[in-house]
Each structure stands twice: as structure tokens, then as C-alpha cells.
């Protein structure tokens, strides 16, 4: 009796969540697979009563698109560049932060600050810092080089056209890497510092008694005991990296590139939205499933590598 009543109650409590999940999560999963397998599926045409043939043409076309290859290259490049840099930097900061006492809390708060920002808004600040100020659309008269170039000149370097008309691809990418790393640091530092603080002090005391060198303590105690946290930040870093989009909108706007090379920095997610905005839901679905497959593969691969090297 009681059991039956509990059953009934449980489903009642779950009902709002279940209804919403069915409509906005479960149905989309099936529908995405369905649309991706209907040739040239378009929501607009479907509403007009068009019938679509079954086939894998969407996947073939998406993969053949030059744009798609560019988006994939950009996304992979950003991941491969930003995840190692931000992870190493975060590790270095967290370990150093863990070794000091005065000012630790204050510095920890400062390092977390970039997390509570709007990635579009602060992207606009980075764009301003890298911009050549007052450069007219014709690209002729500039007032000044902008703060980052001023700093470069101060140290005797040559100013670079980072984001403006006529800028090079590698310069654009550098700006993106700097911004994404800046944005990714807070979360990684937070997790790694939390991990460091939970390592049992006895290991370090034992190492001290044995007179173990600093370097050895780091590679033989700190890194192994921190490995679950490192694994966590690397995996979430890759997942986030493959979904990169709004940070590019923040810096370059919806053109996704400098004014004379629109779309040059577009990513996988951007490709999906572009397909959606032209009502090519079939292509968009195919691209989304490819993105999902990539994320799944990278996560599984990371898990495999990490299992080999992680000590729990």
C-alpha cells in the first residue's frame, strides 16, 4: 500500500521535470537524428508539406563544405592551443598560491574574478585593447596603435595589426588564445587549488624528513595526487573548447573575423547556427551530431589516457 502511494507521489513530484525534459531534451535528440538523415531537410519546406528522402547526404555535404573544414580547423586549433596553456598556467599559479600564506585569500579572489564576467562584454574590452585606435574603414589614418601595441613598442617590439582590417590569421588567433586562456584560468585555478588543499600534509612531512628535493616532491607527490583534478579540468576544458563561440563574437562581433575576412574565425557551433539561420535544419543536425561525436571521442580518449596515469 505504502509502496504504491510512494510510486504515485514520486511521479507526481517528477512530472514537471519529465514533461519539460520530454519536450525540450528527449524529443530534440530523436528529432535531430531524424532530420540529419533526411536529404536536404529544411524546416521551412517541411512546414509547406515537402517530403524528404532518407539518406546520409547531409553528413557528406557538411564534411565536404570548405567552410566546415575551416570551422573545424579553428575549433581544434583553439582547443589544442588553449587547453595545455591554461592548464599549465593554472597549475603553476595554484601550486604557488598554495605555498604562501599572507595575501593568499586576496590573490585567490583576484584570480577568480574573470569567471564572473560576461564573455561578450569583456571580449569587447579585449578588442579595444588590441585595436588600432581610430583606424578608418579605408585602413589609412590611424590615431594611435592601441594599448597592447604601446606595451610592445615600450619593450622595443614592432606593433602588430591584431584585429583590424587587413590583419593576419595568426594575429587573430593569438588574440583569441589570449582571451580564452584569460577566461579559462579562474575555473581551473579554483579546482586545482581545492585539490591541493585536500592533499594530506603527511606526505609532504615525510618527504621533508627524507630530504626530498622540491622538484621531486612536485613530480612524485603533488602531480600524482592532483591527477584526478587535472583530469577533470582537462576534460571540461576540451568540452568547453569544442563549444567555443561567444568569446569570438565578443571580440570580432557577429562577422566572426576582421571586417575584410568575415567568418574566418568561425567555429563548429557557429557553423551549426549559420545552417540553422538559413533554415537548413538537416545540415545543422548533421553538424551537431558530428560535434557530439567529436566531443564524445575526445572525452573517451582523455579518459583512457588519464586512467593510465591517474592515481586515485
Amino acid at each position: 500500500m505504502v509502496d504504491n502511494k510512494q510510486q504515485w507521489k514520486a511521479w507526481l513530484y517528477l512530472s514537471p521535470a519529465i514533461v519539460l525534459l520530454l519536450v525540450f531534451t528527449v524529443w530534440p535528440i530523436f528529432n535531430t537524428v531524424r532530420m540529419s538523415l533526411l536529404e536536404n531537410y529544411s524546416g521551412l519546406k517541411a512546414a509547406g508539406g515537402a517530403v524528404f528522402e532518407f539518406g546520409i547526404g547531409n553528413f557528406q555535404k557538411v564534411v565536404e563544405y570548405k567552410r566546415f573544414k575551416e570551422c573545424l580547423t579553428n575549433t581544434v586549433l583553439l582547443c589544442v592551443l588553449t587547453v595545455p596553456i591554461s592548464t599549465l598556467l593554472a597549475l603553476l599559479i595554484a601550486v604557488t598560491l598554495n605555498s604562501i600564506k599572507p595575501l593568499q585569500k586576496l590573490l585567490q579572489t583576484i584570480f577568480f574574478l574573470p569567471y564572473v564576467t560576461n564573455s561578450i562584454a569583456i571580449g569587447m574590452v579585449f578588442a579595444a585593447m588590441f585595436n588600432i585606435i581610430g583606424l578608418r574603414p579605408d585602413g589609412v589614418t590611424a590615431d594611435t596603435w592601441g594599448i597592447i601595441n604601446n606595451v610592445i613598442q615600450f619593450f622595443g617590439g614592432k606593433p602588430v595589426n591584431w584585429v583590424n582590417q587587413g590583419s593576419q590569421y595568426w594575429a587573430n588567433m593569438t588574440v583569441m588564445v589570449v582571451y580564452i586562456v584569460w577566461n579559462a584560468l579562474p575555473f581551473k585555478i579554483l579546482v586545482l587549488l581545492g585539490g591541493l588543499q585536500s592533499i594530506n600534509k603527511q606526505y609532504y612531512d615525510a618527504a621533508k624528513v627524507d630530504g626530498t628535493s622540491r622538484k621531486r616532491v612536485f613530480t612524485r607527490i603533488t602531480v600524482p595526487l592532483l591527477s584526478p583534478m587535472l583530469a577533470y579540468v582537462i576534460i571540461t576544458g576540451f568540452i568547453g573548447g569544442f563549444k567555443e563561440y561567444s568569446s569570438i563574437v565578443g571580440i570580432f562581433g557577429e562577422t566572426m573575423g576582421p571586417p575584410d575576412a568575415a567568418g574566418r574565425l568561425n567555429t563548429m557551433v557557429g557553423f551549426i547556427y549559420d545552417a540553422l539561420s538559413t533554415n537548413s535544419q538537416g545540415r545543422a543536425s548533421a553538424a551537431a551530431l558530428i560535434l557530439f561525436a567529436i566531443i564524445l571521442a575526445v572525452t573517451l580518449f582523455n579518459n583512457m589516457v588519464i586512467k593510465k596515469h591517474t592515481h586515485y
Binding site: 525540450f24 535528440i29 604557488t96 561578450i120 569587447m124 579595444a128 584569460w182
Partner: protein, 294 residues
């Protein structure tokens, strides 16, 4: 005798050297951390001082690191140019409504998963967790069609309803509920307390820190959401803050009135910083377990 003295001197020398090394290491540690902290803070500093400069001063060949003359009017201009008042109101409506509804749904679901026994509970929970791996864009494609068919385009509903259920929040709260001893529940049952009353009087207060974390992350989510609002509600009446900012200042490079643009960015960032200053503990606790923004 002589030997012994030498030895003591040597020892003194080494301990002195060790002290120097220790001091040097500490010094380098602080030097590194402070340099990194300055790099991290620089964009914020640049945003604020740029927002207070006149356009002429901003364009000086040798940049000034503190405005010669503080121009507060940039903020007025930014507020009007981006119609920030309306955007703030819209974002608050969507943020508050979606947070409240989301909390109710999350609490009820987490309670069912943590305390009630029903057929298929564990299977269903595992399936729910599995959906967390799927990138959100995959849902967006279909949801866009769904909300069009429901005639929800350009309403508050379309900004609130599709994201009310967060599997991650349910998971987080369920873990928290599981830590509350079952004996309390059974005792309440014996006393004839209803489930809802027990949930409200015992479980919710005990899980308050988690609920606060969820609230903040959800509000931040509304504040920072960009893609979905742009697709489904980009009209004047319902536009949210991030889109409004991006729309009002479409160009970020070239010949731009940066002081006003930076003032707008500062205005949009300010509420986030205020929340951070007062509720830092909850944000950091929530974030370290989630790895997601909003």
C-alpha cells in the same frame, strides 16, 4: 678543537644560505603571483579608466593611465545609446522568473530521486545524467522549431521555459539531500508530517547553501545568455542585456567611440561584480562542482 670551530662555522654558513634560498623562493613566488594578478586585473582596469576618458584623450599617442578629466557623462550616453534600462528590466524578469520556477522543479525532482522509492528510479537517473554529455546546440535546432510552432517567438515564455530543468542542478541537490539522514524523514512520517511540509521545513533549510549556489548560477546564466535569446527573442520588447550590448555596439574594431562602449560594458559587468563581492563563497562552491558557466 680547531676542526670543531670550522665545522660550526660551516653549519652556520649553510643555514644562512638556506635562509637566503628560502627567502628567494618566497620572493619569486610573490613576484610571479602578483605579476599574474596584474595581468588578470588589467582588462578591468583598462575598461574603467577608458570609460572615464574623453574620446580625444583616449586617442592620445601616449596613453594616459588615469583620465586627466573624468567624464561621467560617458555613462549617461552609454545608458541611453544601448537602452540599458529596458534591457536590465527584461533580464531581471527572465532571471527571477526562471530561477524561482527552476528551484521548485529542482527541489521536487531531487526529493523524489533522493527519498522516494519507485520503479525505474536508478535507470531514469542514469539516463538523465547521460543527457548532460550532449552539447546544447543539438537541442537548440529542434527547440527553435518547437517554440515557433507553439507561437512563443518574442515572448518572455520562450526565454524562460525551455531551460527550466537542469539535470546538473537536480544531481547536485540530490547528492545534498542524500546526506540528510533518512531517520529524520521516518520520524516526520511517524508524526504525521506531510512530505511537502517536511521538504519545506527540514530539507530545504538544510540544503540552503546548494540552493543559493543554484540561484546565483541561474541568475548569472540569464545575465550572460546570448545565443538562444538572439534566435528567439531579439525584438525591442524582450531583448536581454548581452544581446542589447552586442547590438548597440556592432563594431568592435576600427574607428569606434570606445569610452562610451567601455562605459556600457562596465554597466553590464557591475551587477555581476556586486553579486560576486557579497556571495563569493556560494559562487565558488557551486562553480567548483560544475565547470559550467551559468
Amino acid at each position: 678543537m680547531d676542526n670543531n670551530v670550522m665545522h660550526a662555522k660551516d653549519l652556520q654558513q649553510t643555514s644562512f644560505n638556506q635562509k637566503i634560498i628560502k627567502f628567494g623562493v618566497k620572493f619569486l613566488a610573490y613576484l610571479f603571483l602578483c605579476t599574474m594578478a596584474l595581468i588578470v586585473l588589467f582588462p578591468f582596469y583598462w575598461m574603467i579608466i577608458s570609460s572615464l576618458k574623453s574620446l580625444a584623450e583616449y586617442r592620445l599617442n601616449v596613453p594616459t593611465f588615469w583620465p586627466k578629466k573624468i567624464i561621467w557623462y560617458n555613462y549617461v550616453e552609454a545608458f541611453n545609446a544601448a537602452n540599458l534600462g529596458k534591457l536590465f528590466v527584461n533580464t531581471m524578469i527572465v532571471g527571477v522568473a526562471s530561477t524561482l520556477l527552476s528551484l521548485v522543479i529542482t527541489v521536487l525532482s531531487a526529493f523524489a530521486f533522493a527519498r522516494l522509492e519507485f520503479k525505474g528510479r536508478d535507470t531514469m537517473f542514469t539516463l538523465l545524467l547521460a543527457t548532460m554529455m550532449i552539447p546544447g546546440e543539438l537541442f537548440t535546432i529542434t527547440n527553435y522549431t518547437t517554440v515557433t510552432q507553439l507561437n512563443w517567438m518574442n515572448t518572455y515564455t520562450v526565454l524562460i521555459v525551455p531551460f527550466l530543468v537542469s539535470v546538473f542542478y537536480i544531481f547536485l541537490l540530490r547528492q545534498n539531500f542524500l546526506q540528510i539522514p533518512n531517520e529524520l524523514y521516518l520520524a516526520a512520517k511517524v508524526d504525521g508530517t506531510s512530505d511537502l511540509k517536511y521538504l519545506w521545513k527540514v530539507m530545504v533549510p538544510l540544503a540552503l547553501p546548494t540552493l543559493i549556489s543554484i540561484t546565483i548560477l541561474k541568475m548569472m546564466g540569464a545575465w550572460n545568455s546570448y545565443m538562444w535569446p538572439r534566435l528567439v527573442a531579439n525584438d525591442e520588447a524582450h531583448r536581454l542585456i548581452t544581446n542589447g550590448l552586442r547590438n548597440a555596439f556592432t563594431t568592435t574594431t576600427g574607428d569606434v567611440n570606445y569610452p562610451v562602449q567601455m562605459a556600457a560594458v562596465a554597466l553590464v559587468s557591475a551587477p555581476l561584480f556586486l553579486v560576486f563581492i557579497f556571495l563569493r563563497k556560494y559562487i565558488m562552491a557551486g562553480v567548483s562542482r560544475s565547470g559550467i558557466k551559468g
